[in-house]
């Protein structure tokens, strides 16, 4: 990882010195173990604050929306796919961007670390494929593969799909991954089981909208839940309204979601928000052979029409 950091800092400093970009968006070290904070650097002398490790969970494409500057951005595989989305959806122009690609080996779900340790964690160090966790009276080493975020464990696009610089050689993509085991389980449920499943999934939701706000796709100037004329959704903790928000948001992401997992990482209540978007992601793959954000040269299936599009789902 330290090799990555050196390269990220060097490339960023060069871009800023050459005035190719006005700013670079990356991560700086957080104030707690297992956290990093997205940040901007505008001066070559400040690039030393950029870090990289397995806790860079947020999707930095989220910070590009409608920006006018020339921007350097550090992008792992999923971030790069959301940058592609942003370009296709006219939220940023390709020629504004210098993309510093980071081949990724997956990010860690800190909730998984906390669940294993179940004590106050004071320090976490990453050494190769191991995570060393320290607390007041314990030390434990855990293999990174046991801690990956669920979306990272089944990721098949770890390398950036679009970039101007790469901080390392490409990493090997995971093969023979079953991406939709969980979706098939839900598909197989009876209607009332499905209903209960989603009821339970959302029982802790506090409507903070962290999932929506962490999502690079959710850039509507006014989200439908915030509209008041007419008001589409109630504002209380009424389960119907909570469900309406999550289901509609998911549908707005159909054919666009890259399964970056930012929604899950952001949720303060540990809700597996991906369960809403994954079925739609699977449908787009099954129906149109589409994976979002792989190329800027093709329109997404839901804003194009082809005579041979399947239409079995229209009943």
């Amino acid at each position: 990882m330290s090799g990555y950091i050196d390269k990220i800092q060097k490339i960023s400093a060069q871009l800023l010195t050459d005035k190719k970009v006005d700013m670079v968006i990356g991560f700086r070290k957080g104030t707690m173990p297992m956290t990093n904070e997205p940040c901007i650097v505008k001066k070559p002398n400040d690039v030393g604050k950029f870090v990289w490790d397995s806790f860079c969970v947020m999707n930095l494409a989220n910070y590009l929306t409608n920006r006018k500057e020339k921007i350097g951005i550090i992008a792992k595989g999923c971030d790069s796919r959301n940058i592609v989305n942003h370009i296709i959806e006219n939220k940023i122009k390709r020629d504004q961007l210098t993309i510093i690609g980071v081949p990724c080996t997956g990010m860690i779900d800190k909730n998984k670390v906390n669940a294993i340790i179940d004590k106050d964690i004071i320090e976490v160090k990453e050494e190769d494929d191991n995570i060393l966790v320290k607390g007041r009276d314990f030390e434990k080493t855990i293999n990174k593969s046991d801690l990956l975020r669920d979306n990272c464990a089944i990721c098949i696009h770890r390398n950036p799909v679009i970039y101007d610089e790469l901080v390392s050689d490409q990493v090997e993509e995971q093969k023979n991954v079953d991406r939709y085991e969980d979706v098939r389980k839900i598909e197989a449920m009876a209607p009332d089981e499905k209903w209960n499943f989603f009821d339970n999934l959302l029982s802790e939701c506090i409507r903070c909208y962290a999932c929506r706000n962490a999502c690079p796709l959710c850039y509507c100037p006014t989200c439908f839940v915030d509209e008041s004329r007419p008001q589409w959704v109630g504002k209380s903790q009424e389960p119907t309204d909570i469900k309406t928000f999550h289901l509609l948001r998911a549908y707005h992401c159909a054919g666009r979601c890259t399964d970056c997992g930012a929604c899950v990482s952001a949720c303060p209540m540990g809700i597996d928000v991906r369960q809403f978007t994954k079925k739609l992601e699977k449908d787009c793959f099954d129906l149109y052979g589409w994976e979002a954000g792989l190329t800027i040269d093709q329109r997404p299936p839901l804003d194009t029409f082809k005579p041979d599009d399947p239409e079995d789902f229209i009943k």
């Binding site: 940040c39 909730n111 004071i122």
Partner: protein, 347 residues
């Protein structure tokens, strides 16, 4: 000051007795974390917890609370008349909240209980509740209560303070309400030597290594901090979600909404958040805090400057660390407080 000794073997028996006079609420472990919950019959609070994910504020200030109802059916005599709803304000006891959350209630009270205005919903719930605190012997590395006007054994806002001593609890009586609760439970044994409370208290305080400085906040010029250059950097990563405000025990803002189904209407209030653009949107379409940087600044200026100046009760933060732990992108009130406290404008 009276201290009662409660053998843990008598604990659930006492709780059972309490149920005749109180509805009980306490920390319960869910699948992923602890939260406060009304306890079912026979259910005991799980006091082996560090702190709950959400604070205790919802016990008196629920996230969604119906205030009034009405009908818009014009064939009814009382159409379009707001009517008070029948809420259960019978005695309840909150067992095992941490001292930080109790202190927070005293700060929130400053807003809901003023000489000009008394919020009937908050006050009735508050008065109906007996607050039984649980001293904190194993604070987390993100706790900074000792420099935020509270402490692991702080008694403000509590009626009773429980101290966990191996096979028994010591219950320190703080108010008359607390004494009444002990009586109802049948816990009567006066503790003998209570010097252990002092020892445990200093041990716990020593474990709190995270500290903030707030000494200069009051003397700082409001406009100077307001226009300080650090807000841009501080707010860049903020998602403007409501996590910090919703998990915060001292954030008290709410929004009033009417909902009508058929002819039946309810007027309710829901937690609101100064992080949301809608929070300040005017009906004209103008938004005085339309930009993220303004909203982030507002939250910290309110907690660490406006509140300090207005009430002279310190900062509007008790150091529970929930926002620090739960913020999705790691905005840390401790570092922002330090920036504000040490800010000197460039000459």
């Amino acid at each position: 000051m009276k201290v009662i000794k409660i053998d843990k073997t008598n604990w659930s028996e006492g709780l059972k007795n309490l149920r005749y006079s109180y509805k009980l609420t306490g920390p319960v472990k869910g699948e992923k974390f602890y939260n406060f919950k009304e306890l079912d019959n026979g259910e005991v609070p799980d006091l082996k917890y560090s702190n709950t994910r959400l604070s205790a504020k919802s016990i008196v200030f629920p996230q969604s609370e119906v205030m009034l109802n009405y009908t818009i059916d014009e064939s009814k005599d009382d159409h379009h008349i707001m009517k008070e709803i029948d809420t259960d304000y019978s005695p309840r006891a909150l067992i095992g909240l941490r001292p930080c959350d109790a202190k927070a209630l005293t700060l929130v009270k400053l807003n809901f209980d003023t000489t000009d205005y008394k919020d009937p919903y908050w006050l009735k719930a508050y008065e109906a509740t007996t607050f039984v605190g649980l001293a904190c012997d194993d604070p987390s590395s993100t706790c900074f209560c000792t420099t935020a006007g509270s402490g692991p054994y702080n008694e403000e806002g509590l009626d009773l303070l429980l101290i966990d001593v191996d096979d028994h609890y010591l219950a320190k009586v703080i108010t008359e309400k607390g004494a009444t609760l002990l009586e109802s439970a049948g816990w009567k044994t006066e503790a003998g030597d209570i010097s252990i409370i002092g020892t445990k208290k200093s041990d716990a305080e020593a474990k709190i290594i995270s500290k903030i400085r707030t000494d200069k906040l009051k003397e700082k010029d409001t406009l100077e901090i307001h226009s300080a250059p650090f807000w841009e950097d501080v707010s860049f990563a903020c998602l403007n979600c409501g996590t910090c405000t919703f998990v915060c025990p001292t954030c008290w803002c709410f929004d009033i909404q009417d909902e009508v189904h058929g002819n039946d209407g309810t007027r309710m209030r829901n937690w609101d958040s100064c992080m949301f653009p809608l929070f300040t949107l005017h009906t004209t379409g103008h938004n005085p805090r339309g930009e993220k940087i303004q909203r982030v600044r507002q939250r910290f200026m309110h907690k660490l400057k406006y509140f300090v100046d207005k009430y002279e009760k310190g900062i509007m933060c008790v150091g529970c660390g929930r926002c620090v732990r739960q913020c999705p992108i790691n905005i840390d009130i401790r570092s922002i407080c330090e920036k504000m406290n040490s800010y000197e404008p460039a000459m």
